[in-house]
Symmetry: C3
Amino acid sequence: MLLRDIAAALSAPYVGDGEIEIVGIADPAHVNEAGEARTSRLALAMTGEAVAALTTCDARAAVVTTGCDVPLDRFDAVIEVELPRAALAVLTKLFDHPPQIAPAIHPSAVVAPDAVIAEGAGVGPLAVVGARARVGPGTMIHAHVTIGANATIGRDCLIHAGARIGDRVRIGDRVVLHHNVSIGADGFSFVAPEPASAQDAGLLRIHSIGTVVLEDDVEVGANSAIDRATLAATRVGRNTKIDNLVQIGHNVEIGESCLICGMVGISGSVKIGDRVVLGGAVGIADHVTIGSDAKIAARSAVAGDVPPNAVMAGVPAVPRGRAFEQIRLVGRLRSLYTTVAELKTRVRDLEQGLKQGLGSAGETGADKPPES
Amino acid sequence: MLLRDIAAALSAPYVGDGEIEIVGIADPAHVNEAGEARTSRLALAMTGEAVAALTTCDARAAVVTTGCDVPLDRFDAVIEVELPRAALAVLTKLFDHPPQIAPAIHPSAVVAPDAVIAEGAGVGPLAVVGARARVGPGTMIHAHVTIGANATIGRDCLIHAGARIGDRVRIGDRVVLHHNVSIGADGFSFVAPEPASAQDAGLLRIHSIGTVVLEDDVEVGANSAIDRATLAATRVGRNTKIDNLVQIGHNVEIGESCLICGMVGISGSVKIGDRVVLGGAVGIADHVTIGSDAKIAARSAVAGDVPPNAVMAGVPAVPRGRAFEQIRLVGRLRSLYTTVAELKTRVRDLEQGLKQGLGSAGETGADKPPES
Amino acid sequence: MLLRDIAAALSAPYVGDGEIEIVGIADPAHVNEAGEARTSRLALAMTGEAVAALTTCDARAAVVTTGCDVPLDRFDAVIEVELPRAALAVLTKLFDHPPQIAPAIHPSAVVAPDAVIAEGAGVGPLAVVGARARVGPGTMIHAHVTIGANATIGRDCLIHAGARIGDRVRIGDRVVLHHNVSIGADGFSFVAPEPASAQDAGLLRIHSIGTVVLEDDVEVGANSAIDRATLAATRVGRNTKIDNLVQIGHNVEIGESCLICGMVGISGSVKIGDRVVLGGAVGIADHVTIGSDAKIAARSAVAGDVPPNAVMAGVPAVPRGRAFEQIRLVGRLRSLYTTVAELKTRVRDLEQGLKQGLGSAGETGADKPPES
């Protein structure tokens, strides 16, 4: 790809030779590991650390942040971008090479005769597609994926190896499911028999006869699980992104454009608005409602409803400022205990002093004995 | 199914027309999404929210809780139940439609010649069954499941797609394993070489030559993992239910009818009694014993033994009342610091006042200087 | 195996009959479950509990810790070891029987014509090996494993059922991957568009075009996930052991001989030194650096850099002594609140007493009103 075409994709200006052929992008600290290809790599220097590495890398071209102080004369061409993270999104997309399968049904796949695989979709080796399932055009079903009966998958999805899509699950367009994702396992819902004396009869199972709906542009990380609803649908809204090893319980409803980081656990029947951010390993108790644009700090445990726009932290989660204050105050507890112990001594001294002093004056204002 | 048959299954009375044909059950808020089928759905209105939705749903019949104030005249028939959750268990079981495979060995499955698949068991597409493994009658092994050599699986089990069952694992009757469960991976057990100076020799691996035993009616959620014992068996007792993304370490022994919620982590050699409830994301340190009927609140970390019937919470877990008190007391710390600061000022004032006052009287009871 | 050969493997002395044929090892409490084979088991009695069980077990031979007080006369032979855990490593290795596949390509596996499977490697039933992938000699690829294009796997690795190895991933020698491991899913990296008003345009995805490198002797537990780097490589150093359900984000670099316990979450771009121990369910915030030989207690959350050799605990993690002190101090808060309330009363009494007492003497040293 020519450097000037990359600059155009970035809508960014460049100085130098736009005709340089670029074969890939790289962190300047690692450019030289690319062997023969190193000079035709585009070095991305949009952090301070990466800028420092520019001085020793052999790439002929670099991308830098506007106004950044870099040794431009080392390079035959330099592109300047305003928003480094947005530029990284464009550049990684340009040079991405996701796993490929042919846009066809691999002969080793087991596809039900009444499943409908659109023209241009691919079904990889040893994948299984159930009865009456539908796979949209451009969608790539990789090796070892299981698709249940009556499931529907939209167009241009990327379903990575080992993903499990249960019966009747509905998946929109451009959805990405990573390795070993579980969509549509049964919810965890049991009833202890009443009266309690009947406990030998075991736990009663509430079956999950609902489904899961993933709207367009949802992404779900490796080994995450989204359970089926009891009656209706567990739902993840358009454009919401979910990281690895996340658990989403039955009946949960999540809005659009949320970011749900790794190892988050969302209990059953939780409702989450739009553009909510849940940091890593956040836990949400069942039936809680979280308003749009709320942000929950990593490792927090949300036990009650959260209003829109709130920024929460802690276990249990409270407004972030209070959570941080609590951490500070707990950190100073030792000195508080010391202060209180000193005060106790001084108060006892005062009491004794007052007793003696006033006693000698024929009065007593403090008749309590000193305490230890 | 006729409404009167459903009422009979619930052992519950009904009013109205028992001859109505019911095709499914639904949350009243979602009944109208069922299109043509909506009028022949049974609307379940056993929560306040659902009752409110009854007034706009088009179902001809409903299930309500006895004594609940509902617009009965909208319906041609109404069933009244005493215990709504128990009724939900019955109703969802009646209308459940779990994934189906034929009760036969799919031609694409790879089954060892000396494996024993009982009459009436099913082995789904592309499943693998190892040497001398045994699968009981009525058990359904879904697509992409791996069963190791010498493993035994009882009758009427449901093993969902992608579950991994290691060599020699023993599984009882009516066990349910969800997507991608791992039963019988090796335990995590390493020894740092001694003396420490030998660390270049690497970590010594303690191999897991034991197995895993899951007793009758155990259920294990998607992407959970139960590791193999070092010598004997990691064991999960009859009727215990385990949610998604749970980790159970080597040598663990869990009793009967426990409920283990999502993302719980149980370290090696833990012993858990019967009917124990572990809330979401609870962690248990290794070698801990938890008595029967104990309950551990979500997100707690158990670092020591827990007696029977205890209700614990917190990190580290303490009796729940104390844990909640600690949260309240930490929440009021700012005002405690303020109070102590004020007391300090007042004590200093007292000390100065006493010194001056008594000093004028020829005495001093407080000879310490004021502190800041 | 003869008892004397086992003693030789342990470099340990024995007393009694070295010619006894041993068919396996067992916990004394479980020896008698071995039926006919029980007398030819070697009973391992290297803990107090196990020693107690020796008195009722039928094994003819035992391994004990030097100096341990055991009923030696029950046994025909007894081996004495100095370091019981190291001995357990040796003994479990001697009697381990990991899952076996033939050292050949199973006819049901789907192997790309240009993949290179070394002589003596095994590819199990229904495994998939992508284009130009390389598998070293002695490596066993079990059933249902997926290996991406251009991935390389060294010699003598053990890749358990359902593991997913993405394109271009590089794996060293003697690596063990357990059930359903994901190596090389995409990192979780999105950019909110700027300005914020453009949020309808959705989140921009930063693609992961890098790879993952696992060095020699790495082990990764069941259902764990290690994500691909953005540009270069997520890297796990030689001999590092990772437990089940661990999440390792993109761009992370982990040194040698670390122990990473179950359910640990390591955010993107974290750097971890050598011989670091992360307890169960530890969380590490993104871009943090953890020095060599640091130890982080279970359940801790690391929010900032940790120096070498540090021992940390808590949320957020602080030096362990401070963390434990904070737990103790928080546990005593109720009595602190009580003490402060009493002090308040006593100070008020003093103030009033001083006012009255000194007032009667014509002075006032405390002019503040009493507070409640």
